[in-house]
Symmetry: C2
Subunit: 260 residues, 2 copies
């Protein structure tokens, strides 16, 4: 039987905090078996853009990626952040290898249509490079993926949401391996009481999910997250876990497991 591949996603809040990131990387290095890390961007790109006098345009709270901004996020995500994570993991004895969607055609995407809102050089994944991923995993390497993908026809790099990248990697790998997708975020998991960090619901299956929605326990920002998670499960991912970055070495990551 194939071993389960762990696909783990950390957001900008971990990337931006050196102590938190270092602890997370130590924990990640200690996880056994094949694994993939997807990291978000963080605030460094905005700071560097500002330093270079490039204004960050936002529409409805989302960054617009014009040509100049694409250069910045490419440099920061695939260069500065990705390579520093790789070097830190290598130091911790993990055979990390950093890449973005263009590398080995790992994630080909399509530039998002300019209507109704033109977000610029932003891509939505359309194809996963299972061959490349398999080569790396079977070679004992640990892919560290930055949230930049590419358009195969134009050769353009495209800025891509890191949650979407993680889902694409997980669903793509599920064609060949059992896959567990782990989203690290600010809370410990799905909470029964949003004000009580100890009220983590350990497991949610589709029928409990329907019930929790009806009760209003799951609402607001959690809804699209869980909808996406169950979509990934529907597309072959074995289970999706939502947990805190600092709980990576706990059993079940001390979080909420979504399953069939």
């Amino acid at each position: 039987m194939q071993p389960t591949v762990k696909v783990i996603k950390i957001g900008g809040n971990v990337v931006d905090n050196p102590q938190k990131l270092q602890q997370f990387l130590t924990d990640f290095a200690s996880l056994e078996g094949p694994k993939v890390l997807i990291h978000g961007g963080g605030k460094v790109a905005t700071a560097i853009a500002k330093g270079l006098g490039i204004e960050t345009q936002m529409i409805d709270g989302r960054r617009v990626t014009d040509a100049e901004t694409l250069r910045i996020v490419t440099m920061v995500y695939t260069g500065l952040i990705n390579k520093n994570i790789v070097a830190a993991l290598q130091k911790a004895g993990c055979r990390a290898l950093g890449l973005c969607g263009a590398d080995g055609a790992l994630i080909r995407s399509k530039k998002r249509a300019a209507t109704p809102v033109d977000y610029g050089f932003v891509g939505d994944p359309v194809e996963f490079g299972l061959e490349t991923a398999t080569t790396l995993l079977e070679g004992g390497l640990v892919p560290i993926v930055a949230p930049i993908t590419y358009d195969g026809e134009s050769g353009a790099l495209l800025n891509t949401n890191a949650d979407t990248v993680a889902q694409t990697v997980a669903v793509g790998l599920a064609q060949r391996y059992p896959v567990e997708l782990v989203y690290c975020f600010e809370k410990r998991g799905v909470l029964r009481d949003v004000n009580d960090e100890e009220s983590v619901i350990p497991e949610i299956n589709p029928s409990l999910y329907v019930q929790l929605k009806a009760e209003g326990v799951v609402a607001d920002g959690m809804l699209p997250k869980l909808d996406n998670a169950f979509k990934a499960i529907g597309a072959g991912v074995k289970q999706v876990v939502i947990c805190a970055a600092e709980c990576l070495t706990r059993p079940g990551y001390g979080g909420t497991t979504l399953c069939r």
Copy 2:
């Protein structure tokens, strides 16, 4: 018999010129068999450092890599330049995968001593990751290497001369494969008459090299280049070619071949 691996190095002069780079990448994509590309840095890093108000310190014509400069060259070399080359090669049908020395521990190096001159975060290679390189090449992937390496003990990234990176890759791969190392530079090759681009010496073996040095045909900047090339040959590389970037598809690259 193992096929020959072509290890090709381009310098900043090609990276800085979009037309020249595009033509080179089209030619590179068309080369058959296993291959590796090492690219230099170019002038973009200096421009971005200037934009951010970071002064580039030079000692004896060489860049000093302080902590701020290391951040910039990491972003520009491993991010901006490397990923744009990878995306362009993918578009041209080449299974490019970009990496730096930290990725898969491809090139571990040692920070250069601070005396007699402190060049800052600059590394000299000490170990090549043959296992990672083999995984990629046997998987049909084409490694595109940026000139940043890392120190395995501290986990620090280090700025490294691209010619040295190319030589390290070539000598390292020669442990397992026949290797041809190709240095693309400004001239077509070693010229008998420095003012005549048509006077390329097609082949130089060690005894001819001694003679050419005695005649003063090889002098100045060419001396360390050829000394290094013959060192690579002494360390197992089959042959080293010196040619112009625009001659990559010509027989023998229209350049000078150094051989045993």
